[in-house]
């Protein structure tokens, strides 16, 4: 049995040494190569002073070397932190400082953007796309000087941290969700059984590595001894290229956000005869618009479709297998029931467990639940609560903030949020973080970000802003300001300037009314 993630690779490398493990644009690594490369990186990291629990960042566009790096970091007993290669430098620098990243696995294209003065904790950088070497940078080939046959000996347990994923934070800064080997393996093992993964599978990796959908792609594929096909970023932009990618690589299991599937459906020229090997589609991250889901279910009648649900803090905690008969009548797709080794329940405001037709907040308990947020005990204490429903021993449960109700079959339906977190294109966004970015401009007096529901992307973001007396600026200028601190998918598409923002009776900005305001051209 595997109790740490790196064992999944070591085991598969023994069984399928010469099989393709991972590929991206061209070339790729066999299981033996992946295992040896990650062993070498682990020895290199140790030589550079990386100790158990230290953080190492991944900062590059997708390539097989990044997968080798994930395993190499784990084999050194360290924790990897995938950084969004598209995020603004200020945000990357914040994350590096926040969790004290000691070294970076990066690329020639990314590294020069970083200001060494802003990332003082970083003492070395390995370039995945370079074989040359100087004082500050280590070429990928340099790793071949280190032992390949075995990983360094470390005492590892299933409770060790494996990776940290940063998500939007309501107070204006991203927060780092800590995930242990046990957290990840709980999900990976359940997927492995539920989706019948085998070494014959050809698994896509559509999501970026800083997004937890990729945990299934990478680890279930490796555990099965299957082949992992990383979708290059530029291919994800073009639906026909994406459909060609699926066809050419004979993908058998696909996992992505619904909005990627909607684009494939509407513009990808996807036909059953082009993807005869495809057997399972998993989707998560946002609500799948029913109209398009029905079209997809009709277009690909023999493919199993699963809706997976869960915040980064628990990875996936509930699932629902699409039933084509029921789909015709359903007006909402259930998020379903708990995954294996997981319990979910919902309670109302009075802490009573809810029944059919009642609304409650969803809680999750089990080994999938995060130990908390990096260096943020306050936030951790507010989300990961002691299980007050079970008084006999200490245990944590996660409060999702998602409002749900059970349907007639006991499957949960997602009805909304308790707070101002939204989803847009599958990205999890705290409106508070956008407001903090807007307020960071000295001319901005008040700011409110609201979500405008949209069938294709889930939500579009609009901001209402009032300026200090005498100040003037354009929407484009303010958007430009936002781009220095928040990712592009969080920048408000529309900005409306008002003299003053409307207030509620308690003096707070009336976001509910603003969200209903008709669009001003």
């Amino acid at each position: 049995m595997s109790y740490v993630l790196q064992q999944l690779l070591t085991e598969s490398a023994k069984r399928h040494p010469d099989k393709l493990a991972v590929t991206a644009r061209d070339g790729g690594l066999t299981y033996r190569e992946l295992d040896e490369r990650s062993n070498q990186l682990a020895h290199f990291l140790q030589a550079r002073g990386v100790k158990k629990g230290d953080r190492v960042g991944l900062y590059s566009s997708k390539c097989p070397e990044l997968v080798a790096a994930m395993f190499g970091i784990l084999k050194a007993g360290a924790v990897y932190v995938p950084l969004d290669p598209q995020a603004p430098i200020e945000r990357i620098s914040y994350i590096i400082g926040n969790c004290g990243i000691k070294g970076l696995i990066t690329s020639k294209e990314r590294l020069p953007g970083l200001d060494p003065a802003a990332i003082l904790s970083v003492s070395f950088a390995v370039l995945v796309d370079s074989d040359s070497q100087d004082a500050n940078h280590v070429g990928w080939n340099e790793l071949s000087k280190f032992p390949a046959a075995t990983a360094p000996q470390i005492d590892a347990t299933t409770h060790d941290l494996a990776y940290i994923l940063y998500t939007s934070g309501s107070t204006g800064r991203p927060k780092g969700v800590m995930l242990t080997h046990e957290n990840a393996l709980t999900f990976i093992e359940w997927c492995f059984d539920t989706f019948h993964m085998t070494s014959e599978d050809r698994v896509s990796n559509h999501a970026p590595l800083h997004f937890d959908l990729s945990v299934f792609d990478v680890y279930d594929s490796i555990k099965a001894g299957a082949a992992l096909y990383m979708v290059p970023e530029e291919v994800t932009m073009f639906p026909t290229s994406l459909a060609n990618f699926m066809e050419k690589n004979q993908i058998t299991v696909w996992y992505s956000v619904p909005s990627a599937l909607v684009l494939l459906l509407l513009h990808g020229n996807l036909k059953p005869e082009r993807v005869p090997h495809l057997r399972t589609i998993l989707f998560a991250g946002e609500v799948f618009p029913m109209k398009y889901l029905r079209q997809l279910a009709d277009l690909l009648p023999h493919i199993d479709l699963y809706n997976l649900y869960g915040p980064t803090e628990t990875n996936v905690c509930t699932y629902y297998r699409v039933d084509r008969q029921k789909l015709k009548m359903q007006d909402k797709l259930p998020i379903g029931k708990a995954c294996g080794n997981t319990e979910v329940f919902a309670v109302d405001e009075n802490d009573h467990f809810i029944g059919k037709g009642e609304l409650g907040e969803l809680y999750v308990r089990g080994p999938c639940v995060t130990p908390g947020y990096w260096a943020d005990p306050e936030k951790t204490a507010s989300m990961c609560l002691p299980n007050r429903f079970q008084p006999h021993y200490e245990e944590k449960m996660y409060r999702t903030g998602d409002l749900v109700t059970p349907d007639d079959d006991g499957e949960y339906l997602f009805l909304g949020r308790r707070d101002s977190q939204i989803k847009s294109r599958g990205y999890r966004i705290e409106l508070g973080e956008i407001e903090a970015a807007l307020l960071g401009h000295p001319s901005v007096k008040e700011a409110a970000a609201v979500a405008i529901p949209d069938e294709e992307v889930g939500n579009r973001i609009k901001a209402f802003v009032s300026l200090n007396n005498g100040d003037a600026m354009s929407a484009a200028q303010l958007q430009q300001h936002c781009a220095t601190s928040i990712p592009k998918y969080m920048i408000p598409e529309m900005i409306e300037f008002r003299e003053d923002l409307p207030k509620t009776s308690t003096g707070k900005i009336d976001r509910v009314n603003l969200a209903k305001a008709p669009a001003v051209a």
């Binding site: 020229n269 929407a475 920048i491």
Partner: protein
């Protein structure tokens, strides 16, 4: 034509906080255009230049940069003129 394309791309770029776009710069790598932005761009090109763009033509070779978009649209327009029946 190029000026109109450039202007549309710039408007998109500005909404993402980008102030300068070179004609040969990769619109995708720089995050100027995302997967949905491409379809807005396609609608814009179809409406402005009276061309029909099929899903098969929405590929990196045609949309990588302002220069690529221009030659793609120019080629489409040239074809359209050739194909027009003689009166």
């Amino acid at each position: 034509m190029k000026e109109q394309i450039r202007q549309f791309v710039m408007e998109n770029a500005q909404a993402k906080g980008i102030t300068h776009v070179a004609d040969d710069e990769s619109l995708m790598a720089a995050g100027i255009i995302d997967s949905l932005g491409i379809f807005r761009l396609v609608s814009f090109l179809e409406d402005t230049f009276r061309v029909r763009i099929s899903d098969d033509e929405i590929v990196p070779d045609n949309f990588q940069s302002i220069n690529h978009i221009e030659s793609f649209v120019a080629a489409k327009l040239a074809k359209k003129t050739d194909a027009a029946p003689a009166r």
